[in-house]
């Protein structure tokens, strides 16, 4: 093998694109060709430099936006019945209804490996839905099985003090087991650049995240519950706090939850 032939094979060899027989011939030729050996070494060095670059991960805010779109792509809300085993791809099985919780669990599982980095810090939603996006992204982190809460306790006297020193206000914490919403714990999140307290509750198999922070406006407002892509979101102001609750539950359950929080806040005054 002459050098030009040999040289033309260096890159395909490096890239694993030579047929087995050719590889053997090339390796034999390489013995006699210091120039091509040098070239191969340099290319290997270049490769290892490039592969030092850390892998990119899709930002979780982007995943949350995508998740919303995927939910919106499904024509109607799936009924809440236990799903059949997933049909194998390509089979002609009838569409199987899925549990919302299962769906969000899948979405959430995608978030498991993500760090807390807020890469999309510059992002602002075109439709003013940035707060919703952030709530949803936060909720998907709550929904993930790994570590839904930073402090896991159904005891409000454990959860409340945990926030001390972590955020600059003391959130009211109530267990609502008697109303059907047991407290699971608390966590920190970031909403529009601010560190906030998030309380996580359970409703049957579903989780709710209640974000709350001191209100700058005064006066209470009644909870407004909206439904978006399978999530119920409640927004209201009560007893000096802005409250946002999000969960993959029915809007009427969300109304019950919001009313229960208000009641507990009143009783706790």
């Amino acid at each position: 093998m002459d050098c030009p032939t040999c040289e033309a094979m260096v890159e395909p060899y490096l890239d694993g694109e030579l047929p087995a027989g050719e590889s053997v011939r090339f390796e034999a030729a390489l013995e006699a060709c210091p120039d091509c050996r040098g070239k191969l070494d340099r290319l290997r060095g270049l490769r290892s430099l490039i592969r030092e670059l850390p892998a990119e991960r899709a930002p979780d805010l982007m995943r949350a936006r995508l998740e919303r779109e995927l939910r919106a792509a499904i024509p109607a809300a799936a009924p809440l019945v236990e799903s059949a085993p997933s049909p194998t791809p390509g089979s002609a099985a009838t569409p199987s209804p899925r549990l919302w919780s299962r769906r969000s669990a899948m979405a959430a599982s995608l978030l498991v490996a993500l760090g807390a980095g807020w890469v999309g810090g510059r992002y602002t939603g075109q439709d003013g839905s940035r707060e919703t996006d952030e709530l949803l992204a936060g909720y998907l982190r709550v929904g993930l099985g790994d570590r839904p809460v930073d402090v896991a306790s159904s005891d409000q006297h454990t959860v409340k003090p945990w926030f001390a020193g972590r955020i600059d206000y003391a959130p009211p914490v109530y267990d609502l087991t008697s109303a059907g919403f047991p407290l699971l714990g608390g966590r920190l999140d970031v909403l529009e650049g601010r560190r906030i307290a998030v309380l996580v509750y359970r409703r049957n198999q579903h989780r709710l995240a209640l974000s709350l922070w001191p209100a700058t406006a005064s006066g209470d407002t009644a909870p407004v519950v909206s439904e978006q892509d399978g999530f119920a979101i409640a927004r209201w102001r009560h007893a000096g706090f802005e409250l946002r609750a999000i969960g993959d539950i029915a809007p009427k359950d969300m109304s019950v939850f919001a009313a229960s929080i208000d009641k507990a806040m009143e009783a706790g005054k």
């Binding site: 030092e52 850390p54 990119e56 930002p59 995927l70 209804p97 899948m106 995608l110």
Partner: protein, 176 residues
């Protein structure tokens, strides 16, 4: 061209299983194409939605090259659209400012930063080939499918890309 059928629940579910695992790859490729983290999100997100729309045409070939091809086409289209719209320059937020971004500065050490900068500075035609080969680790055939180019073109661009990058990183490579 006929309207794509609207995906049903089952198609969306299959899409999650088949395509969503490649979201990081889609975003990563978009990062190297756009060289901007925010724009990359837009491209990757738009590409995922296109992929969902055309998922009925997916015939069980390899998912990642299929998706990356859509990412590339999406980027090409978005850029074309933008240049047609002649976006006024005073929309400063949309203008990609070269310079360190939070992720870049978080990269450990000058060395990686230098490599990233050199790679990002390559002309797009050769940059994308090199990224697909060395970072996405696609085969020549897969790269040819992503770029819709013959394998010979892939090989010659890859060769040029390596030459250019080696020159740019000369100092790093020179050390024995």
């Amino acid at each position: 061209m006929s309207e794509a059928p609207k995906p049903d629940g089952q198609a969306v579910e299959r899409f999650r299983i088949v395509m969503l695992p490649h979201l990081d790859a889609a975003y990563g490729f978009a990062r190297w194409l756009t060289r901007d983290p925010i724009e990359a999100q837009d491209v990757a997100q738009e590409a995922m939605l296109r992929a969902l729309r055309y998922f009925h045409a997916f015939r069980g070939e390899e998912a990642r090259p299929w998706l990356l091809r859509i990412v590339r086409n999406t980027w090409t289209d978005m850029r074309t659209r933008r240049s047609l719209e002649k976006v006024p320059l005073d929309e400063a937020d949309d203008v990609v400012e070269p310079g360190p971004d939070p992720e870049q500065s978080a990269l450990a050490g000058d060395r990686r930063r230098e490599i990233a900068r050199a790679l990002a500075a390559l002309p797009e035609e050769v940059r994308e080939v090199l990224v697909l080969r060395e970072i996405e680790e696609l085969s020549y055939k897969q790269i040819a499918a992503v770029l819709d180019q013959p394998i010979g073109t892939v090989m010659s661009r890859l060769s040029r890309a390596r030459e250019k990058l080696a020159v740019a990183l000369g100092g790093r490579l020179g050390k024995e």
